[in-house]
Structure formats: C-alpha cells, structure tokens
Symmetry: C2
Subunit: 357 residues, 2 copies
Amino acid sequence: MSVTMRDVALLAGVSNKTVSNVVNDHPHVHPTTRARVQQAIADLGYRPNLSARGLRSGRTGVIGLAVPELRQPYFAELADAVIAAAERRHLSVIIGQAGADREHEMAVLTRGLRQTDGLLFSPEHLGTEDRGLLGDVEYPLVLLGERIFGGPSDHVTMHNVEGARAAVEHLLGLGRRRIAVVGAHPDRRTGQLRPSDLRVQGYREALDSAGVPQERRLERAVAPWHPENGADAMRELLDSGLEFDGVLALNDSLGIGVLRALGKAGRRVPDDVAVIGFDNIADGRFTTPSLSSVDPGRDEIAETAVAMLVERIESGSGAPRAPRLHKAAFHIVARESTGGHDEEPLRHGATGEPAEG
Amino acid sequence: MSVTMRDVALLAGVSNKTVSNVVNDHPHVHPTTRARVQQAIADLGYRPNLSARGLRSGRTGVIGLAVPELRQPYFAELADAVIAAAERRHLSVIIGQAGADREHEMAVLTRGLRQTDGLLFSPEHLGTEDRGLLGDVEYPLVLLGERIFGGPSDHVTMHNVEGARAAVEHLLGLGRRRIAVVGAHPDRRTGQLRPSDLRVQGYREALDSAGVPQERRLERAVAPWHPENGADAMRELLDSGLEFDGVLALNDSLGIGVLRALGKAGRRVPDDVAVIGFDNIADGRFTTPSLSSVDPGRDEIAETAVAMLVERIESGSGAPRAPRLHKAAFHIVARESTGGHDEEPLRHGATGEPAEG
DNA sequence: GTGAAAGCGCTAACAT
DNA sequence: ATGTTAGCGCTTTCAC
C-alpha cells in the first residue's frame, strides 16, 4: 500500500542503501545516481516511514515541551517560540500540559513524553526538594524556569532577581516610594527558588539600595498568577487603606488584573499609581493604559533551550558534560502604566474599507 | 541497553506475546500470569518502544494540530482544549504553526505532520479554491474553521453567521442603530467562506431584520486580526467623521484594539459606543471595560474534532463514510462593553499577605 | 561509490 | 490461555 524505500530502489535501479544515502544527504553519492534516485522518489511520492527510522536509529526527530497550561499567554508565546526554533532544526514538538498537579508533573518527569528524543520541562509544582528525581532521569532534559536549581540538568531561565530589581528601580526613578508587590507566594518556605521568591528578592534589593524602607504589608500573596487573582489582591490592598504609589506585578497576567481593579476603584494610572508587570506578553500592549513590563527574552530562552537539548541528544550519554545554566538578557519596556508614551503601533497588515469585488 | 519486551518475558517466564497481551490490556490473560508479568515490568522498568509499535501496527498514537500561530490567544486556548481531549484518549499532540503563508499551509496539508496518525487542520490562507487538494489527502483529516467548505473532509466549526447576527441583535437591543463592523476581509472575492465573510453576513442579516439600513463605510477591513490593526481601523473610523454607537469586532483581539483606540480618543464605552467581540478569549474579561463577546464553544469544538479524527483513524480507509459537519453551540456573553455588569470574578486561589515562615 | 544482509522491538497470524 | 514465527521499513555494518 504505501511506498517503501525498496520500491524507490527498484525503480531507480539501485540498492536500498543508496536510496537511504540520498534521503539522508550523505556525501559520497554520485550526482547522477542521486538525481536518478530523487526522480524515483518524486515519481512514486515516496516518504520515509519515521517509525521505522526511529526504531532503527533510536531517534524520533520529536522533542517534548511540558508546560503548566498552554492557555496562559506566557506559555503560549514560549511554545510558539520553541516550535519555531525546533522547526529550524527539522524537529517536531509534542506539547504536554502538566500543570494540573504535582503528580502529573512527576509522571511527566519520570516517564518523559512519549515518542520523544528529549524534553523541555517547565515545572510549576516541583521544587528544589524534588531535585533527587532529576538524577534518575535517563533521557536528555533541559529545565525551563528556576524552581529546581543545582540539579544535574541543563537549565535555561531569566534574570528574575535582576529584572524585578530593575523594574522597581524604574518605579523609584519616577519618584515613587510606596511600592507594593503583587504575586508573592502564600507559603513562604525558605530555600524555595520560585520565580515569585526571586522576584520579591529583587524588589527588596531595589528598595534597600535606594534606602526606602520595606513594608511587609505591601507584599501581597497571590497564587496562581491569573488576572482575577491580581484584581482580588489589588482590591484587598485598596481596602486595607495602606498608601502606595507604585505596583510591581510579578507577571503581566497579574498586572492586567491590577490595572483593572485600579481602574474600577477610580485610581488613575500612572498618575496616582504606576504599575509595571513582568514577562512582556503581547496583551500588555493593548490594555488601557498599556502595561510596562520586564521583557525576559522569550525568544532567546526558546532558542537556547532547544539548542542545548539538541546537543544533549546528539552527544548521547557518551560525553556526560557538566550541567549548564543560561540566563537570557532582559530589558525594561516602559509603556503608559509607568508614564512611558505609547509605542507607535506596528502596522501588520491592511486596514480600510473592504474592496468590493 | 534499554529494556525490551523480551527481557520482561524471560524474567516472567512467559513468551513475548503474553507480555504484549498484558501491556495492551488484552483479555484472555490469566490473572496470575498478568500479575507476574506486571511485576517483571515494574522490576525492570520496562517501557514499550513506541517506534517499534508504530512500525508494526501502523499507528503512532500521535495526532497533529496545525494552527496559524499559537501566540494568538484563540489558538492557544484551542490547542489547550485539543491537548486535553487527546490526553483523555491517551493520544499525544504535535503542534505545527503553518500560518506564515499559503505555501506553508499547502505543505502541511499535502504532507501532514510527521509521525502522526491524523491531522486537525485550521487553515488561514487556503480557501475554497484549494478544495481539490483535499481530495488527494490520504490520511485522516478533520478541518477546523470554515475556509474550505463542501470538500470531502470532516469539518468542525462554529456558528459564525448566527453568532455575529446574535451579537448585532444584542447591540440593537441596547438601542444602537449605527453599528460598525471591524475585521472584514480587504479582498472581498465572492465565493469565499472566510470567518470574516460569514460574520459580516450575520451582521448584515441582523441589520436587515431590524430594518436598519446597511452602510458600507461602517464595514471596516482589517487583516490580520491583531489588536494593533483593530486599533488602527478604529482610529480611521473615528477620523472619518462617520457617526456610530456600536461596534462588532469580528474577534476579541480586534475588539481589544478597538477598546483601546476608543479609550484614547475619549469615547466612553458603552455609553458612547457599545462594543462586542467574538471568540470569548480569557483576555476579554480583564480589559477596561471588560469585553462582551460571542462564546463559540471552544471545548465542544476541540472534543468533537478529536472524536471525529479518532473515528476516522480507527475506521481506516475501510468504511469511507460521508464527510460530516459539526457546528458547536454558541452564546452571547454580556460584559461591561455592552452595559452588562461585571461578572463576579472567580477566585482561583489564595490571596492575602504571604505567611512568613 | 555502491550492494547484501542483519536486525532494531514490537504485534498479528497462526498454532497449540 | 499461551507460544512460535514472521516481518513492519529503515539504517548500519561490512563487503566489494
């Protein structure tokens, strides 16, 4: 029924091996032979059976990406970038959503994603205490995010501390002194390296360097990082009667909720309260006012993570090199919510009245 | 190096076949034998080689999902739902982004996604004129969206005409009579069945039924459907001096841009202009004001599409049944942008001050 | 530069 | 209820 390599070989009058050489771009194939084989491939519409190739070679050409939830804009944008980076290397990407609970994440980590050569894993529940699990992982693995540091795996992450610090310095530079932070983790166990803890650390460092006193009641706990929870936290802060003139939202989803709660409460942004988020998701450009943010280098993260994973896959378990850590470059994007002027909107296509036709 | 079925069979003192039966949950295995085999599997940490299974059985257990761009919130939410629906059936999902251009989509359609048993395909560029291509497709295929109607493929889509019509009726019910539509296709060739054309049709039908005259200049062309382009179109409409008191944005991304442009121009929503979008993406709940929308039944679309694809896969080419069409149920979600009161925000987790510890 | 043969790990068909 | 055999389509030796 389907065309096999053997059919191509017969039509081209060569052996299996030669067809394989042509398909895999091996050198040492006579140009004439190559052309004849390619013609036969085209004539028959031959396409290699990837299961057979996978069985024989031990490689599937597929990598896995495990994220908590694809519907969170940050992860959708990350997945977009990972798929693009993988495609450049002729790899496909299977996406798994593991954020439901801890068990789900452990299952993904121990078993990997089916049918893949390696895994990019962005955990939400697993933490440093699960580091031991990583030692047992037998497939190529690159971690995204920072919940599990110091393990035996490659690691690609962002400048959480420095980014948050720069964001607060941006607010301080606007003359704000009573700066709240929204998104701290409700359970502040020590030794955890959650993004929230690292970003709170950057927040505190910035205040300390500027000689601005810290105030614990301005650090608001929120989990998970969804807009509704950001809005709730902001309402609670408003109700508390505490004064504040700046807010660091620990990600943009929270920031969008914060903007909304402020707007509904009649606080003007940025005049009364300046707000900055984190992640620079696309949505932040179209809120009213538009949301300043820390751009964490999403494309660099995706590209580096895929490159590292490919290296691990290609080196096999042969040359066990030391685990690497890469932190992508970040920068502050000042939009209206911190008094920046609106970016000139890029025109991505046609607008106007439709042409009748 | 890795554990094979043979190793398990030897340890359990049974044959390959029995191990296979256990692994695949076949009936007719003695409970005692089954237990012994399962113990051996656990002891050795055996995991089936899916490439081998795929080669032998002709099934990979992986389906493909091709969307224009994952970073568009609608497609991210759709992919989320598709992955969840596939997981319930123990299938994995490879995601491909094909929206770059027409050639890319044709390549995906003719070749499928590698290593998959079938494809869910949501085209952005291919249209009815490419229907012929579908006849040549030899793998199980389910189309999402409505660009290619009347072909030989199964099809899952939404009530574009009816949804848009209901949205406009909602605006008419508020007493609005000068209703603009943002997102018509710039090139209005006839015979096209793009979402934009269908939604514009619903818009016109609603006006006609209410005896409100159509006005072509209130139909604004925008492509692609990104917020910046929605904002541009709204600015142009404002600059044109035309009067209007209602806007149907043909999707929520456009709607978000429309809200922003109206806000910047000092128009109050919904007092001066009522706005409704389409797709009911999560972002619309947190704009200021929140965005009313048409909920197109995303989960139903995903679930139905996966179910149809699985049927096609399992029936093989044996029983070529007639192509099916499924339209998911829709409903109007009235939020602030059409005078609805804000939904009570759902509390999805903890907020408050972090516990020190 | 090309061919012949072996075998990757599994399941389907048939046998018992 | 379990065993035996064959072979899916490819790549990888190893010849020549």
